[in-house]
Symmetry: C2
Subunit: 472 residues, 2 copies
């Protein structure tokens, strides 16, 4: 792992860099920032990967700003890295070759909402909470919720998802079209507002998940949903991870349109009890949410109740009152902080894998056993409807031995998931942290194809170099 | 339109072609066919586009067969064209540069069904009806239904969808992973069986919709669904197209999980009445289908009934009995034949566009007016939940003046849809017939990007040349 991260990506020539920064200063004035503090802020990685700050940061306000940064940097061979909120988890915003970070936080406008079409057009810097705030009055919402209040540009770039992907899909399913700034500063339009299209190669979904390595996303057209009439939540304890997974499989086979179904393993429930002052039984737990009309939600809960009982659920707590619902889901949202609180001062290294749901119980249980055997601590939460789960590994990142142990554990976790026909990352992306696992998952021919695509669309390797593709 | 179709794509050198055919004959024996009748069968285009037969056809039985065809043809510069059932509608299987057609009908095995994971792995030549036949006993189904009994490989290649995309999505949403034979005969694996992944560039969705121009699909992993407990159908007449579209918009905003919602305009209803011996009122009609538990379906129909009444529906006929449901949907499925029967001997040229649903009524009504003004006849059916509709233009393809009039009409239809922020094709693809419209929809930078991708993955232009990208 370290290898790929620390592999040197060639820095631009010093004179070219100085020249670019001079040109950027002339164009952007005090919106070009080169102070160490600001540069470091833009390299925080929320992970074990060491920060690698850019040489400068430009606070972009318009698409033309992005175009001008690219037009100044690209001919000089200076890397360009897009930055939303810095909540990515695999080193996506690091600048291993230096270069210029484009901070998009001021590009946070909603450009249009089309309520009849259930879509909107936004700038990349808007966060999902800001967007939902904006939409609420119109009875609409944007469903993708990765936990962090991430920017939509960043969520598109990492193909993010989260707790209600089981019903509403991931960013892949939510992005209808993009405007992307390419290497010569021109704009590539990838689609229209039509809900579906067979018109040529799917550029939209090539840029979604490309982690800013093929161009900079300047505008996003997103699918929206109507706010459901009724929302109800439930917490449902099981004697085993297998029971919880079996209930999930049956519910999905039956076609219950679960809005969220989250697994917390016993260790995570204990951490949440301590942190959020709850009294949940410290056994595997499913947290559920149902959306629909009153009748539909009642029917969904009835059907799930039967399945849960069949699968040995030991307790079933319903919460239709908003405050009870919030209490439960707040605990889930605070799961990461609950883990960190277990060992104050430690970092919690978040990693994720995703497997076919039939293998999820095996994968979680083997991972729990591995953790115990390795002397590591790291509760598990899972978007169980998708077979996707997270380990939050407690780790003293200043202790190289502990980091090495954590890295080895992550390697085993990834290979376990891949051996079960799964993927090394369900929603965090490759960034720097997962590069070495890509070939093991898809094989050399897929890596060749990805390299060919990168070269086709970014021949100078200007956009976010050193990410996704392992060094040759 | 004709321009792009008739543009000459360079044929391989005659000696290279002869050499390739000799090598194929040695490898495939009587599974290599060069008779004119068989070559012509593999160029039928089900459209106005003149057939362009390949030089030879290979009946493939295994992935190794596909690999060998590519390994023989590619180094000699001989084009390779994949063939499923030949039901594509924009000339996708034509061979404008000649070359070798790989007929995949014998590669129709189901390699695996994972019922807990709701997925299966199939060969590309299996048709959707064969697949559903295979799945039925396990309580599973594959929901994408483009009307024709197309092959799954062809459906993936054209990013097909159809009547129940409004609920279950398109091929884009249904393909989890592919194995694709690339230009040197090696296999690219694009994904795993995990329901979601953020691992690198989205190769799967680059090959889905690429119309066989980037490689040959040899294996497909598909998402499946559980067969719903209860299915009910309804027919619902409206005084106007606007009323029918308004009802659709409200139903979707409300979150009713419509399984199908099809619009037939008055002309199409009349054609269906005549052909299928029905007595439906000859005004705009919505045909609906609801899937779920008994309680859910009852709730959905109740909710839709209220909305339809609000939107001025004049009559509402429910059909929960399978035979009544079949009768209604059979009429919808026979819509194309009903149109052809209006003028025996004519061809019905099927074309499709897709617009944001808020513009659908405008687009349909303007198209009806245009048709009347042009002296053309062509009933309209629409997958109205997606804003996607089809015109089946009656046309005597042996009359150049009528073909020219039809082409001009299609051009206006496409530009109308594009002006409404829509796309020139929702589900038929670009093939040969829609090439000239692509730049008008997405702009030159998108075309540049597509050309770069084609060159990156098929540098010799071996795979289905002359499709998707307009001639330079």
């Amino acid at each position: 792992m370290s290898q790929s991260v620390f592999t040197t990506v060639a820095r631009p020539r010093a004179t070219a860099l100085a020249d670019a920064i001079e040109a950027l200063a002339a164009r952007f004035g005090n919106r070009l920032v080169t102070s160490q503090a600001v540069r470091e802020q833009h390299a925080h990685t929320t992970t074990w990967i060491p920060p690698q700050p850019p040489d400068a940061v430009v606070m972009a306000q318009t698409t033309a700003d992005i175009q001008d940064v690219v037009r100044i940097c690209a001919p000089r061979g200076v890397p360009v890295i897009a930055f939303g909120t810095g909540t990515s988890l695999e080193g996506q915003v690091n600048a291993p070759a230096g270069g210029v970070c484009i901070d998009l936080r001021d590009m946070n406008r909603v450009l249009a909402v089309h309520s009849d079409d259930l879509d909107c057009v936004v700038e990349p810097g808007i966060t999902r909470k800001m967007l939902n705030e904006h939409l609420r009055d119109q009875g609409l919402f944007f469903p993708i919720d990765p936990g962090a209040d991430a920017s939509l540009g960043g969520m598109a770039a990492t193909r993010a998802s989260g707790t209600n992907a089981v019903r509403y899909g991931t960013m892949r399913d939510s992005v209808l079209a993009l405007k992307v700034v390419r290497g010569d500063g021109e704009i590539v339009t990838t689609g229209t507002r039509a809900k579906k299209s067979s018109a040529g190669y799917d550029l939209t979904h090539l840029f979604v998940g490309a982690e800013g390595t093929l161009g900079i996303i300047a505008e996003i057209t997103l699918r929206l949903r109507g706010i459901p009439d009724t929302i109800s939540a439930a917490a449902c304890s099981f004697g085993s991870v297998e029971g919880a997974c079996r209930a999930t499989i049956l519910a999905i086979q039956t076609g219950i349109p679960l809005a969220r179904i989250e697994l917390l393993n016993a260790a995570q429930v204990a951490a949440c009890n301590a942190y959020s002052k709850l009294t949940l039984p410290e056994t595997p737990l499913l947290l559920l949410e149902f959306h629909g009309s009153e009748v539909e939600v009642a029917e969904q809960t009835r059907m799930f109740g039967e399945i849960a009982a069949e699968c040995g659920s030991s307790g079933f707590e319903w919460a239709t009152r908003p405050e009870d619902r919030s209490r439960l889901w707040q605990a889930r949202h605070d799961a990461y902080w609950a883990v960190k609180a277990l060992r104050p001062g430690s970092q919690a290294i978040a990693t994720d894998v995703c497997v076919p749901i039939s293998r999820l119980a095996d994968c979680v249980v083997e991972t729990e056993d591995d953790m115990k055997a390795s002397g590591l601590e790291g509760p598990i939460v899972g978007h169980v409807g998708d077979g996707n789960f997270h380990c939050s590994l407690l780790c003293d990142v200043s202790d190289p031995a502990e980091v090495t142990r954590a890295e080895a554990f992550i390697g085993r976790l990834v290979r376990r998931a891949q051996a079960m026909d799964g993927t090394c990352t369900g929603e965090h992306g490759i960034g720097q942290g997962k590069q070495e696992y890509l070939a093991g998952e898809l094989g050399g021919a897929a890596i060749d194809a990805m390299r060919a695509l990168k070269k086709a669309l970014d021949p100078q390797n200007i956009f976010n170099p050193g990410k996704i593709l392992p060094p040759t």
